[in-house]
Amino acid sequence: AQTVTQSQPEMSVQEAETVTLSCTYDTSESDYYLFWYKQPPSRQMILVIRQEAYKQQNATENRFSVNFQKAAKSFSLKISDSQLGDAAMYFCAYRSALGTQTGANNLFFGTGTRLTVIP
C-alpha cells in the first residue's frame, strides 16, 4: 500500500519569506500523481499544485513550486513570498495512475503540516 509521510507537524514563516514543506512517499508503482492540498479553517480542501510522476520538470503555480525527486520519493512544496492567506493545513497526497481501471484513484494523504504565517 502507498504511504505518504509529512514529518513536519507545524511550520511557521514570516510574511514575505519563503518556506518549504516536506513530503516523502512510498510506492512500488512507476506512474502516479502527487498533490499538495491546502485546508484552511473553512475545511474546504483546495488543490495547490500537482505533479505527474512521468514529468521530470517540477510543477510551478505562481508562488508555489515543488521539488520532485522521484528516485528519492520526495515531493516538497516551496511557498515564496508567503502571505497571511497561506496559513492553513497543507496535505501531501498520492494517487495511482491506474485510475478507474482498478478503482484505485482515491487519494492517499499525509498527516499534514500546519503552516502559520507571522505578520
Binding site: 500523481y33 475545511r43 474546504q44 480542501m45 505527474e52 478503482g103 484513484n105 482515491n106 487519494l107 494523504f109
Partner: protein, 113 residues
Amino acid sequence: SAVISQKPSRDICQRGTSLTIQCQVDSQVTMMFWYRQQPGQSLTLIATANQGSEATYESGFVIDKFPISRPNLTFSTLTVSNMSPEDSSIYLCSVGWGATEAFFGQGTRLTVV
C-alpha cells in the same frame, strides 16, 4: 471542474443516533469517495461508492456502521450509525476528475455528545 454540495455542514448529535450526510455533484461521475478526518488528523478513506453497486469499504470500516447509498451518478449519502463520541470527525465527500483532479465537498463537522 466539478462543484460538490455537501450537507449538513455541521451537526451535534446524541450518542446512539444516526446522521445521514448528503453529497450532490453538478456533473455525472463514476466514483465518489467518502473520507473521515478525525480531530487534528489526516483524511482517511472510508469507502468508494460506485453507482449501481455496493460500496467498497476500507479496512476498519464496515457497512453496518457507515452505510452508503449511490442512487445515481450525481448523488451519494453516507450514514454514520449508532454514533459514539469517537465518531466526532469531519466527513468529506470527494470525486475524482480525470487523472489529476479531485474535488471535495465542504465537509461535515460532526460532534457526538
